[in-house]
Assembly symmetry: C2
């Protein structure tokens, strides 16, 4: 399913980079498998494609059908891992232009992932007088952005459909037992789905967190889970042939050799938000204790004409990981009898041939410029290949974090701004901090 090409790292990292790290990888794989490493309580994602709750899965599929029938718009309220996974997969498989397309599934609008007044007003205007439902995703129910958004869209639903009608249109994905949203959902009788205790936000796309919006967009979530299950099975076999072990070792060797930035590149515009999901996965897992590769992304060939110059000749601080998908369709380049652009040597060839040669050309150019290159080759995009790739990146991330000797499953730094924010907002109990902060501003 996935072909990993590391030949273009030659000369950039020691030849024995993998054998040097076999003991570390064995230990990391064992900690992931046995949930007994740092952050082991949050490694439920490792066997999720096998152990997921089948009863809930069927309810997700039924709820998706109900939403498709009852509404023209689904508003998905969530932030971080409760936002990026669903958006990544919907963009990747149903297109970044999903909402523009003619289709028999609802538009999907994301809310509660920021504090922009103008973006919120626009989302409300985009719904217009159409029927809509809400999927609110929050483990606690008290995170500021989604909580504020839920106040607003709940009020809009109740205004439009009455309290009873609104109840039929609110789907809460939250903690299985505790928390503000759980309490409200129980009291109001919303349909509920679970944010598992042992799966952190950035690893949650294959739980109800991601699956419900993804299913509403008409994507086959059984295929998605099937692809992930295949990856789980294949990658659980340790050893030097395991592509996840190879990639994790290579990343670690590149980092230890001085590379500070991993640049994720793809030739498909629909990959943009998948790269954003990937940035959270890696940035939040590895970026701690003053360590970690800075995750960045580019969309080729577009960005060869923007970031290309820097990649080719700027500071030598990055390596590149290129994800390549086979095309689904075919397009033959038409002939131009007058050959105005001088490109008739391409007439009659598939556009995919040009893309393939561009990719090969770029790899050699960047390698020659001092940018090591990792290539991940995939079959055509489908729910199955996407599921495989999601699990692959998650598993490599777990291995990488342990090689880096950090806890890849916590995110202590995310609290820093929140504490400041509560204080500055005047939350009761934060009066002293507020005073101290205001004096610094």
């Amino acid at each position: 399913m996935l072909n990993l090409d590391l030949t273009k790292l030659e000369g950039f990292i020691p030849q024995d980079y993998l054998s040097q790290r076999m003991a570390g990888l064995e230990k990391a794989a064992s900690m992931l498998a046995n949930h007994d490493g740092p952050g082991g309580d949050f490694t439920g994602w490792v066997y999720l494609p096998r152990d997921y709750d089948k009863e809930e899965f069927a309810r997700i599929q039924a709820a998706a059908k109900k939403i498709q029938q009852q509404s023209q718009v689904l508003v998905v309220i969530g932030i971080g891992g409760s936002y990026l996974g669903a958006r990544a997969v919907i963009d990747l498989l149903a297109s970044p232009n999903y909402n523009l397309k003619k289709k028999d599934t609802p538009d999907i609008l994301f809310a509660g992932n920021g504090l922009s007044t103008d973006a919120l007003l626009e989302t409300i205007a985009l719904i217009g007088d159409r029927d809509f439902s809400v999927n609110v995703i929050s483990k606690s129910g008290t995170t500021t952005e989604p909580a504020v958004a839920f106040r607003i869209f709940k009020a809009l639903l109740e205004e439009k459909y009455g309290k009873e009608g609104a109840r039929e249109r609110i789907y809460a994905t939250t903690d299985k037992a505790r928390g503000a949203l759980k309490g409200l959902a129980d009291a109001e009788g919303y349909e509920e789905f679970v944010v598992p205790d042992d799966v952190g936000g950035r690893f949650s796309v294959l739980t109800a967190v991601g699956l419900l919006p993804i299913a509403v967009a008409g994507i086959d979530i059984e295929e998605l889970m099937g692809g992930a299950a295949q990856a789980m099975t294949e990658l659980s076999v340790g050893g030097a042939e395991n592509p996840a072990w190879q990639y994790a070792a290579a990343r670690h060797a590149l980092y230890q050799g001085g590379k500070k930035v991993e640049l994720l590149a793809c030739y498909e515009p629909c990959f943009r938000f998948f790269a954003e999901w990937w940035k959270q996965l890696y940035g939040e897992s590895e970026g701690k204790e003053g360590k970690g590769l800075f995750p960045a992304s580019v969309e080729f060939t577009a960005d060869l004409h923007s970031m290309g110059q820097y990649i080719q000749e700027g500071e030598r601080l990055m390596f590149e990981t290129v994800v390549q998908f086979a095309p689904k369709g075919e397009f033959i380049i038409p002939n131009d009898p007058e050959n105005v652009d001088g490109l008739n040597f391409l007439s009659g060839k598939p556009l995919a041939f040009v893309a393939q040669q561009a990719m090969r050309a770029v790899i050699l150019a960047h390698v020659d410029g001092g940018v090591p290159n990792v290539r991940i080759e995939m079959p055509a995009l489908s729910a199955k290949t996407a599921g495989y790739l999601i699990y692959f990146f998650e598993y490599v991330c777990g291995l990488s974090g342990y090689l880096l000797e950090v806890n890849p499953f916590n995110q202590p730094g995310v609290e820093a701004y929140k504490v400041n924010m509560y204080a500055l907002l005047g939350k009761p109990g934060y009066e002293e901090q507020k005073k101290a902060l205001e004096e610094r501003l």
Copy 2:
């Protein structure tokens, strides 16, 4: 119009960082004003807001009206600077959801900025049976991506409207005298606009390159130019009070002090592609000779829940530049009698208040985490403020490149992959290179 806050750099760069660089800034400003520094032939953008071709400007406005009347879709074909500027401004001012909105201006679809077969097929499907026009933007007419796209959309137009009808719907923005597209446009009688000789692609958003699509989207391009003109006038006054001088000096001091990444942050989702435009502007201008800050971007508050952990606690290699706009609208946070989420201390407050405190909270958290912070405060988004900001970033970029002692107006590294690509594609004349490259793959 623009308020630059550098107080949160204290302790990260020497106190005399500006005075140390006054001589360099004076020289840089003089080279920009007199077009006599490295790359001086490409500094036509410096006085563009004053010296632009008024007759052509009126033709752009007239053509935009004609397109609005004749078509429901405008396909904009271009790559790099012939793509990002227009997309950035349309997203920023007319929304990333522009095509989704109910409006009396055409949808705008971008093509020719990549080689994805599936993205091309989707663009054709999105046009459907609607009337469309094409704005092809290419100085030479032979750049592979836009040239291939133009072949395709020209053929679709001719099939739909006949050769005569197609001619009325093709708008060519190209060289004023030479090149393949210029020759074709002359021969066919397309309406033509000029890519000036003295303005490089990444500085061309305020020429016909950017202005025609922007005007078609219903944005007031006179206001846009007016904002840029105001910036030009204000920033031409050199000295320690000049915010462009201050920012350029600070960036340079941060870079010399070891920072390798500039992270551009904004709290408005509509800023995403403006940040992409900014990345090209800075990456392509500074990223050469092994030097330059790596430009990256984040969308807050969303990315506080993804990249926030890395920013707070990962490798200490970045500083942050935050662009903040006043909101256009207002939204009051509703009260919840049951206070389920515990946020009633915010009830009745504008959402913008929460956003403002979040921004202040983040700045202090990141500064405490070792991330120096630059803040650019702007009035509400409008064509005028956007024009001002465009010119500000361009001017700072010119100064910065000269402080870095590179030619900020060339892009020699972009050729490397193109040569490889022509060879691998089998372009006549590249047979030897092809053989050598294939052997390495």
